[in-house]
Symmetry: C2
Subunit: 483 residues, 2 copies
């Protein structure tokens, strides 16, 4: 997908102030009912608390005794199962076509998380805002449908049925269903100590969408974050978020089979940590998931910090919409998985953590490594190569750069031994990867600082892939073009 | 189901003024986007207009080229098809538990309409009103879920998955899915001239719910309709509507196979005529559907008339929620179907019209016969036997009563010949039925009158079934009990 021009209401004969995101009070994954409330409300269903917590994403699976992103119903026809999932939400971006694409990609993602690559049918769920003028309705809704349909086609499925209602808030979503044999899906409960966690899309979609809205409104929050981010950077992040949310996780689902995945989930409303915790709970082995790296849309970590704990991005609780798959892979397969997804799609995936023996929980290490991620002009998603020197950045020496490649823990020997060992594990895994593009997972460490001084501390990575320089140059051109 | 006590907010520690129906601006089937608007909006999907019109109920079926209440997707596994449907809407009654039951029955009805009797999985869709207090939320939502779950269990299925969001309006619905073989469902496109149309639930749910709201509010509309209906009659109709909406059409779906149905649809947001027209359009043979009888919840016709054309009940356009199945049956099977459903469920079904050669449209005859229907204390749904003499009714002579058994057309020889012939057909069919309970379809003709004078014209039917007198007496007792 090439860079998409910003949605221009006037080119559709709408008022220049028309914003799709105004037709809702809650956005994207943020519309979910809080987890603890949901557990209480869904007790009526009689599922156990673990399942209830996962109900929101269509995750209850009492018949098989574990929770999933989509339900798996054994059918009475030899060996076949019915797998299905539903999701719907409200606009979180202003481009109706892209909103339709995102809604479709988001629903499909639950099927992809269980390793299903073919969707037999899609139902589309539409809420037409009762506050739309007739003109707005007749412009916006067909664009949304068009986007939804295009993504369905990209996924090799089609829309046959649905429901359309009037609603105060504009609403879009769907139901994805497939019937398949046992070997066509991957139960997400086989993680074992020693496995590695891979993430297929960067985090920060909520931060990107919100900060874009603040920029448009030039409100107090914008005044706060503009100290750490430029308008162009926010526009770029918004575009990247939109682009990433619209991406299908289909290649990842295919490669889960190739590289013997032990299970996966998709990252949405609960944030990376919430979904990691849900996945951990479902494991048959007594394991913990430990997250060391947080690939984020470029500059979103800086914004999140400038906003205090508002988003919880670095705490792993910032809501994502149509996020990546979080995949458990055998250690020896993880790098190959990342290399292959890069080969097929052009996009990077990141090793972000490890599976260790534990009590089925998930955590993020105290100072996770933030990997800055951008979408290049060719449409591929990559870790940020050494870009223009950040304002007031002290250029680190080569030795410092190399230090930056290692987990922070190595320069902070006073931290506890366990954390050190875990981090060492990740370091070893990452260092064992020969492909330079996977090496780029080694993004600069971002430590917790006040907004104003943060840039001063940003360190740069060594880019070992000449091709990456080319991407970098293209991106620079793109940025110049848009400045 | 025995008579259910009215929902009492205070017994749940809610404010006595709490009304679930206040948490929406549109109710039940009335939330649908108008048909013509939807056709325009859904053009993006590329389906032809016929399919688009039926999309709302999940009716698009491009792969097989015809529209259905649920989609039918051929699977890659020998002879199996995926059938699924979705529907969701807003509260139209104040009892949360019953609202949950209705939402579930309503979704299942689309599967039943295609002759499917087993649902493999149900997804539940929930919108928690953002205007609920915490107490209201924690009381109302579990009750709704409980009702939804109970209906799913009654249908022999279970809820595995769904989505829960916050929304200004309270929202509930689901997705019903089944995988089955060719002989397990009945394509709704085989009607032939000479077939008979049967309806399995009375009409008038919207009229009943609205008039109940007017009664509570004692507003201008109540002042208008109270001239033709008592408070008790409105309360009773509201209860009956709730009861009928919560009934499953599952027995009807089973009997569609037994009695060789040529196709069916369920009656919801477009009213009986709208859904009959949709069904007619899908037929392979060149047929018309002609409706002669309108079974209505008792007193709803009187209210509809008192309100002018506001509802369109007698015009067949009043929205229904979780209505009956409208079933095409071979003429010789229709009465047997009605007798069998009565035997199995205790509930009446009604022969309401005929299939004739035509151009795939549907119509209601100029002066359709209104059949007054009530739910008895034993929970069965029946045509009203001769009740207490209506106020200011002129009791017709026996000859007049017999005339009333025949379609109006026979006493209006100036009407066109075609209509006469059609009506004669229905008369013949009905007269060929030997079971007295089916004879009771011959309800009094209600002609279009001003509200005040209407009762004067109501004629009474001859009841030929002694058992019916018993029902009548039971009902009288019930009425006395509740007065």
């Amino acid at each position: 997908m090439a860079l998409r021009p910003k949605f221009d209401p006037q080119s559709h004969n709408l008022d220049k102030k028309f914003r799709l995101t105004k037709y809702t009070g809650l956005h994207g994954g943020g519309c979910k009912v809080p987890n603890d409330v949901l557990v209480k409300l869904l007790q009526e269903l009689g599922a156990n608390p673990y399942h209830d917590e996962q109900y929101m994403g269509g995750m209850i699976m009492p018949r098989l005794g574990i929770g999933l992103d989509c339900c798996v119903i054994p059918l009475r026809f030899g060996g076949l199962s019915l797998l299905q999932t539903t999701d719907f939400f409200y606009p979180l971006i202003d481009d109706p076509y892209m909103m339709g694409k995102i809604a479709c990609a988001n629903v499909l993602s639950d099927l992809y998380a269980i390793g299903v690559t073919e969707c037999d049918n899609m139902l589309m769920l539409l809420g037409v805002s009762s506050k739309f003028t007739e003109k707005e309705r007749d412009t916006v809704i067909p664009l949304m449908i068009h986007g939804f349909k295009d993504s369905a086609e990209e996924a090799g499925t089609s829309i046959n049925g649905g429901q359309t209602v009037l609603n105060p808030w504009c609403l879009i979503g769907g139901v994805a269903t497939t019937v398949c044999q046992q070997n066509e899906f991957i139960m997400p409960d086989n993680a074992v100590p020693g496995d590695v966690l891979v993430l297929t899309k960067p985090l920060g979609t909520q931060v990107a969408c919100n900060s874009h809205q603040w920029l448009e409104q030039r409100n107090d929050k914008w005044n706060r974050i503009k100290l750490v981010v430029s308008e162009d950077e926010v526009e770029k992040a918004y575009h990247d978020a939109m682009f990433n949310m619209a991406r299908l996780n289909r290649t990842a689902a295919q490669l889960m089979h190739t590289f013997n995945s032990h299970g996966a989930t998709d990252v949405t409303g609960f944030g990376i940590l919430g979904h990691a915790a849900n996945l951990a709970k479902q494991q048959r082995s007594e394991v913990n998931f430990v997250i060391h790296n947080l690939p984020c849309i470029a500059k979103m970590a800086a914004i999140a910090k400038a906003c205090g704990n508002m988003f919880g991005l670095l705490q792993g609780t910032s809501a994502e919409t149509s996020g990546g798959l979080l995949i458990c892979l055998p250690r020896e397969q993880a790098a190959k998985f990342c290399a292959e997804i890069k080969k097929v799609e052009g996009n990077q995936a990141w090793i972000i953590g490890i599976v260790e023996a534990g009590n089925r929980t998930a955590r993020i290490i105290e100072k996770p490594r933030v990997i800055e991620v951008q979408t290049l002009e060719d449409g591929t998603v990559q870790s940020v190569p050494p870009t223009s020197t950040p304002r007031r950045t002290i250029k680190p020496s080569v030795i410092e750069q190399q230090k930056a490649m290692l987990p922070e823990i190595q320069t902070q020997p006073n931290n506890n031994l366990q954390q050190h060992q875990q981090t060492q594990q990740v370091t070893n895994i990452i260092h064992s990867v020969q492909q330079p593009q996977v090496m780029q997972q080694q993004a600069p460490s971002v430590t917790l600082l006040t907004p104003v001084t943060m840039h001063e501390q940003v360190q740069q990575v060594i880019v070992q892939d000449p091709q990456q320089y080319q991407h970098h140059q293209q991106m620079q051109q793109f940025q110049n073009h848009h400045q």
